[in-house]
Symmetry: C2
Subunit: 536 residues, 2 copies
């Protein structure tokens, strides 16, 4: 007995129910006419997109989503589809999947395992389902599960006991480096343990801080991968099952780690700009490595014609910074401007001379320079409707080596979750595709150029010391004592930990950025600003 | 049989375990020696403060908190205390209460109802307890509950069935207008239904966006209030129980609504400044009602000597604005400065003249003025270590009538959850105590003064129309259609809803503010920035 199942790895806009509906209908039509599929599986919460956050608390939104399901049942006739939607029983809300076929709901399943950790808040919105769901289609008994269900022990087994010969999983599983390997390892082991084949369909696309990477796949009952869709792109493919056995189909290769992070960042920028209706992006290009990388990412995401770079030299800017910035802008073919900040810095210095009389120079004067750049960039963003990209990296965000309303001014922060050492790796990766970032930008010591002969190493431990400490403290929740026990110098650890703790207030006002690590600043790491815990 | 129970309504610093421990010990000593209490009840999660957010995910923090409990057991000998702490069994975490007496843990209770809505995320951290806890003390059977437990049907009844003759409740119940009345109504009804007396101890103080208002109370078994502590201040009081009957004690009166909101705001500013170690506060004083109110609040919170005001006139600033700003600064006795922004505005205009050549004036030029003010204020904040208070209100935050990095620049936003109409009421209330805000500030039409003869009503519906629409849309999750059905003009509703939806990106970068409504922007309302839902 043959059953052709299509995996619809599609890119939604959260909340745009009408557009999502059209996308579902078009994809189902394609799966029917081009792929000759019998059944199409869509990602989790297909109709609303994921995560819809507090939109899910609104009765009008839930009513619209439920009406959309019935419209969809009417619009799909000659193929069966499995779609996710926020089901209401009038009182409680469920994260559900419905099987639609010939105008009726053939089966309905309520997600049992509701993740409420990391970036997930599902227990804020949903009530957990209590039972498995198995439906018969074309003579085959098919079980339904949703995302966290198949990471949780017991749910696949219960679905099997309910009679499933094959399990479908609707997912919205966000990317971080290594997540794809982890996901396949866990799910293949679960399938193998239950001796059941499994069809895993993931969403693709960027949604604020999250990237959904796609890489949907089919596992055979022996735990082997029979099919894998590509990462970071929309793709609708079909896999034929003969009885319980999926027939081998094309397995897209997986990107190496750094390449996958690069492509995640490109997709994140592209979707944030596109889904929010910006007319392109602009950024300040300093001649340093961070803005050099952001420019390359932006061009790869949007095309050179949609990106503008602004050089804003000061008296502390070295000639090589301007030269290298221009070299890259030319190499990438983007329009660039140069606006010296001295007149504004001078004006503020004069205006503040009376209130600052008798005080010593400190970071205040450095911040004024950074904020003058922020005013210029925001003015250009406002005038043109282009998204201002900030260029700060995760190491800087961690320790607060950034100026609020200065270099932190902007609508989106592509490198917010990229530590400095990874910035270098990503730059090397990009140059391996085509050399666009001047070599000197990569090799010179990093500097904010806000004071004479300043380099980052004056204020911070070197990044090859700082980054591993930050990873342990921020991502792994290790204590200072345990980090020191790994051989890091107590003064470096104390310094880093203190700076991370103190700068929560800055991070709270930073633009959203793209999560690529196991713990990103933002919804993934929720710290109080006011905190007396020192942990030293 | 007599039992004297002290209610320790105290103010913690989240995460400062050592300081909280000292505070508990000192309060217990006071309750023993001054109040002759037998037992002291402290608020929820006494040892760590509430909410500790993702600090609760750190093994070192949990180990420190659990060690602190054992230290506390050693330090308290001659009185029994009930304290809250994050209990670990090595794997799971519980929101627990322990009764300490003569060096041992007499009883331990795990919170059963874990709120995960609004500002609460307890299911992110804790596992729910499964059973009631009743302990015998001085011949009386006492049940333990924690906060949400006593709002949830069935838990008091189960505690009673387990033998409780009296229920203690440890709480961290955040303020919003009307919350005290709601809290007493619900809890008194629960006590009466179970025919049990109840001792309700609430935390007091500000923690980032939350205010805990205190107002701890004791309910008799007939549902009547036998004692109430004051709102918004630390207070340790004792109530004597003869058998099940609490003896009447002093009931602090409740503030009327507007007064309670005023005192909540004062406490919020005071605790944010104090707990974060700022050397006072400063703000831009425009001559408008918002900054006039923030100045009065700041002085009431910190004292005139800790507050500075900065006038920053432009060519569009009317003389009366400067005059009124000076009048208020003088009336309140605060230091003020006046720095005209024209030189910086002129510099930016020149610097941008080439890239802006041929474009029409728009809000870009208005934003430049606001951002010049932001640079000046942040420079003064950086130089002096004073907290910059923003002055925007909730109506503006809702519709985005504010400039990112301009008037939105600052560390704390006292009026972030105060709609414009309430700003007026609060100003009247403050002037009823002593006239400090010039009458003309209250009576003149509001204006941003960023363009010639500009008033808010040019860009927005009048506030007596806008505010009720915003309350329905933001706080009550009503649909546009339902708001229109209440009689609001479709064009006003459409305008307001569209502006709220579009400006999520601005709010995401706004400073924290003080929650006083049933739904504040921030952790209380979690919307996606990227959203295609229009709901119109």
């Amino acid at each position: 007995m043959s059953l052709k199942i299509a995996l619809a790895q599609i890119n939604f806009v959260v909340g745009n129910i009408a557009a999502n509906l059209d996308h579902i209908v078009a994809t189902a039509a394609y799966a029917k006419t081009e792929l000759h599929a019998d059944l199409v599986v869509f990602p989790e919460l297909t109709i609303t997109g994921y995560p819809a956050e507090d939109l899910l608390l609104r009765p009008d939104f839930i009513a619209d989503a439920n009406n959309a399901l019935y419209q969809l049942a009417d619009r799909i006739s000659d193929i069966a589809i499995v779609v996710g939607y926020p089901e209401t029983d009038g009182e409680r809300l469920y994260n559900s999947a419905a099987v639609l076929h010939q105008g009726v709901i053939l089966a309905n399943y309520r997600k049992q395992a509701l993740p409420n950790y990391g970036v997930f808040d599902e227990q804020r919105y949903f009530t957990a389902g209590q039972q498995p769901c198995v439906f018969e289609f074309n003579g085959q008994f098919i079980g339904l599960t949703i995302c966290e269900d198949v990471w949780t022990g017991g749910i696949i087994a219960a679905t099997q006991q309910a009679g499933a010969e094959l399990v479908l999983t609707l997912n919205a599983s966000p990317f971080n480096a290594g997540k794809i390997q982890q996901r396949e390892a866990v799910i293949c082991a679960q399938a193998k343990a239950a001796n059941l084949p499994l069809v895993y369909v993931n969403q693709v696309g960027g949604q604020d801080e999250l990237i959904f990477d796609g890489a949907s796949f089919v596992v055979a009952a022996d735990g082997s991968i029979a099919f894998r869709a590509a990462e970071f792109v929309e793709q609708t493919s079909v896999v034929e099952f003969i009885g319980k056995q999926p027939q081998l189909a094309n397995c897209a290769p997986l990107y190496p780690a750094v390449a996958s992070e690069y492509h995640a960042l490109v997709l994140g920028i592209k979707d944030y700009v596109r889904k929010n209706g910006f007319k392109g992006a602009l950024l300040g290009l300093s001649g340093g490595i961070d803005s050099a990388l952001v420019l390359a990412l932006a061009v790869d995401a949007l095309g050179a014609g949609q990106v503008e770079a602004v050089l804003m030299p000061s008296r502390y800017t070295q000639d090589m910074s301007n030269e290298d910035a221009v070299l890259e802008a030319v190499a990438l073919g983007v329009k660039y401007h140069s606006i010296a900040i001295e007149p504004a810095v001078h004006a503020f210095t004069q205006m503040l001379s009376e209130v600052f009389a008798g005080t010593a120079k400190d970071t205040t004067e450095e911040n004024i320079q950074a904020r003058c750049r922020g005013v210029i960039l925001m003015a250009m963003s406002n005038k043109q409707g282009k998204l201002l990209l900030t260029t700060g990296n995760k190491s800087e965000m961690s320790v607060g080596y950034a100026t609020l309303y200065g270099d932190m001014a902007g609508g989106f922060a592509p490198l917010k979750d990229v530590p400095k050492l990874l910035v270098y790796q990503l730059a090397h990766y990009r140059n391996s595709l085509s050399a666009v970032i001047p070599e000197r930008v990569i090799t010179r010591p990093p500097s904010a150029e806000l004071a004479p002969d300043q380099i980052d190493a004056d204020s911070l431990p070197p990044y090859d010391v700082l980054d591993p400490i930050l990873e342990r403290y921020v991502e792994q929740d290790m204590s200072a004592a345990d980090i020191i026990a790994e051989g890091y110098r107590p003064e470096d650890v104390a310094r880093a930990v203190k700076l991370v703790d103190r700068n929560e207030y800055k991070r709270r006002q930073s633009p959203p950025g793209i999560k690529i690590s196991t713990r990103a600043f933002g919804r993934d790491r929720r710290y109080p600003i006011t905190s007396g815990y020192r942990g030293l």
